[in-house]
């Protein structure tokens, strides 16, 4: 009855290339095992463990990077997984975000008196999902990575058990995220139906060699994939969840959402659209063009009217997603490099900014109104100064890393003759700068009745624990250094252009 051979050929596994993924997943599983076996873990252990795992991934990326630069990209496990420069670049970003989030979480969980092993386990699992997405060479693998990433983040958003906003955020994120996943899966099904393959290399090969007489199914697949991934990176009009979720979720988790989830989402967008559907870029570019315009404009304009700093940063992160889409729209190597540079810079900015928000938020994690920041410049000059630098970075002021990032994507758009898009992006950057200026004004100019008002005493900010302190210091330093000497990051991003290898 079974006519097959007696043994099945086992796929080739490049174990060395899987090291980052294995470190993250293994660290999560080990941590969970230890936490189940030992009733009372020392409080510092899970955070330290996570940080060590993140640093180990960063270290392991270096030899892999050299290997890939010397021998070229590789694909293995029967073409399901690939390793190339962009994979490693995004993996490194995710590792940085994991370390930063763990540093923030330790202080946060202590302050809020929350039990916390699960947060670190889920953080590591989520990062493993992100790495799977960045190395996926198959739409099914990509989808599984995305689900792993998302499910862990849904729960992380709900982790502040006593804040009802946290539960609300998790529920909203979960319901909308489930919709997005369904869109994505349907898109995968339609692309499979149109091309007969789920492997990215085979899809790319099919699309570049075949002329489709009826491309309706493929177009619908493109559209649904774009909607699904657009949800994940919070592109307008699929952004509705972002402000509420950012506002409600624990602030360290928001740092991970802004830095890690966005990096993984754009890694997926680059792999699927720019790389795999590259030969059909004429078909999907208009859609991404529209999405990019809506997102940069929507995010920047709506951010202006917010009064809650966390919401402001949420809308500004939407605007950043728009700039990243501008780079994706270029559909060129230059655009890809610009997107990766932007992701690198934004990881630093997001981690740093939300570290400040974590500190200012105070016990209960609810002092996020712009009032909490009034006069901070006089009372906490270092903290306010750091926040000012990060905000100027987000605004894209020259001599900060943010300028390098914004310049990169806009240059890529101009090179791709998308002048209108580049112009709108620049206008939006100017509008968004107004948002950051509002916070800056609150920090320094409005030293509002600090002495004569009792209420002012309530917005006293506790001294920052060492975890957020490290995150803020490092991110501010890097934002300034990369602003003056952008070369290293830009060169790395240029070398990190993704390559598809057939399997």
């Amino acid at each position: 009855m079974f006519a097959q051979a007696e043994t099945v050929a086992t796929p080739e596994v490049l174990w060395w290339a899987l090291v980052p993924l294995l470190v993250l997943a293994g660290a999560a599983v080990l941590l969970l095992t230890v936490a189940s076996l030992v009733r009372r873990l020392p409080e510092w252990l899970p955070a330290a463990w996570t940080i060590v795992a993140g640093l180990a991934v960063l270290v392991s990326v270096v030899p892999l990077w050299n290997e890939v630069q010397d021998d070229g990209a590789r694909s293995f496990l029967a073409g399901a997984v690939g390793i190339d420069g962009s994979t490693l670049f995004v993996t490194a970003l995710l590792a940085v975000a994991v370390v930063a989030t763990a540093l923030l979480s330790r202080a946060y969980l202590t302050r809020e008196d929350l039990p916390g092993v699960e947060l670190y386990v889920l953080l590591l699992l989520s990062a493993a999902g992100g790495v799977v997405m960045a190395s996926a060479n198959d739409l099914i693998v990509l989808f599984l990575g995305l689900e792993l990433l998302s499910i862990a983040v849904y729960v992380m958003a709900a982790l502040h058990l006593r804040r009802i906003q946290s539960q609300e955020a998790a529920l909203k994120y979960f319901v909308l995220g489930a919709f997005a996943s369904a869109f994505l899966l349907y898109g995968i099904a339609l692309v499979y139906g149109a091309t007969g393959a789920t492997g990215l290399a085979r899809i790319a090969g099919y699309l570049s060699t075949t002329i489709l007489l009826e491309d309706g199914m493929l177009m619908a697949g493109f559209g649904l994939l774009l909607v699904g991934l657009g949800f994940k990176v919070a592109a307008v009009p699929f952004h509705a969840w972002a402000p509420d979720v950012y506002q409600g979720a624990p602030t360290p988790v928001v740092a991970w959402m802004a830095a890690g989830v966005k990096a993984a989402g754009f890694a997926a967008l680059l792999r699927v659209f720019v790389l795999t559907f590259g030969s059909w870029s004429g078909e999907w570019q208009p859609a991404v063009w529209g999405l990019a315009i809506l997102t940069v404009l929507g995010g920047s304009v709506v951010a202006v009217v917010q009064t809650d700093v966390k919401r402001m940063l949420a809308y500004s992160s939407i605007a950043h997603a728009g700039f990243l889409l501008v780079g994706v729209q270029a559909a060129s190597d230059r655009g890809t490099a610009a997107v990766l540079t932007y992701l690198g810079v934004y990881t630093l900015l997001a981690c740093g900014s939300f570290a400040v928000v974590t500190v200012v938020g105070g016990a209960g994690d609810d002092r996020h109104g712009i009032d909490a920041y009034r006069g901070l410049g006089a009372r906490r000059p270092w903290l306010a100064g750091a926040f000012a630098v990060l905000l100027l970075g987000q605004a894209g002021v020259p001599f900060t890393a943010g300028f390098v990032a914004k310049f990169g994507v806009i240059a890529a758009a101009t090179e791709g003759h998308s002048y209108a898009l580049a112009g709108i992006a620049m206008v939006s950057a100017a509008v968004a700068a107004f948002v950051y200026l509002r916070i800056l004004v609150a920090l320094y100019m409005e030293d509002r009745h600090l002495e004569d008002d009792d209420e002012a005493g309530a917005v006293e900010v506790d001294p920052a624990p060492w975890g957020p302190r490290i995150v803020i210091t490092v991110s501010v330093a890097l934002v300034l250094v990369l602003g003056v000497v952008p070369g290293p990051l830009v060169d790395l991003a240029k070398d990190a252009v993704p390559v598809l290898v057939g399997g």
């Binding site: 009855m1 097959q4 051979a5 007696e6 099945v8 086992t10 969970l32 189940s36 009733r39």
Partner: protein, 121 residues
């Protein structure tokens, strides 16, 4: 195809037989036994005491963890099934992969147990 369907037909036939046997005996019993119903006799059986309240009672919401765990391990079975269909062919590789798969899922169960979620509330 007919070979394939015939192997399934065995299942259908045996399933049908099982239903038929049970149905026959229960049917015969209901035909042959004397039926003299009283109020006591038709009352729902509840461990020998008189039933109380409505037939409806809301379960504790925390039992949903059990439902979820059931679903997860149900999905696990779906993946074990194709492995079991050709166990020998996958050899050591398959065994190791499946062991990792089951270990990771069992870890979740272990964690739930240590968190004291598997207790009667």
């Amino acid at each position: 195809m007919s070979e394939f369907l015939r192997s399934w037909l065995v299942l259908v036939v045996f399933g049908g037989l099982a239903v038929a046997v049970v149905g026959t005996f229960l049917g015969l019993g209901s035909l042959l036994r004397p039926q003299r119903a009283t109020e006591q006799k038709v009352m729902n059986y509840e461990s020998g005491v008189d039933p109380q309240g409505d037939r409806w009672s809301q379960s504790n919401i925390r039992y949903y963890v059990f439902a979820l765990m059931f679903v997860l391990f149900d999905v696990e079975v779906v993946f074990i099934f194709p492995w079991a269909a050709r166990l020998e062919a996958y050899g050591m590789f398959g065994l190791v992969e499946m062991a990792i798969f089951i270990f990771i899922l069992a870890l979740g169960l272990f964690y739930a147990w240590r968190k004291r979620l598997l207790r009667w509330i």
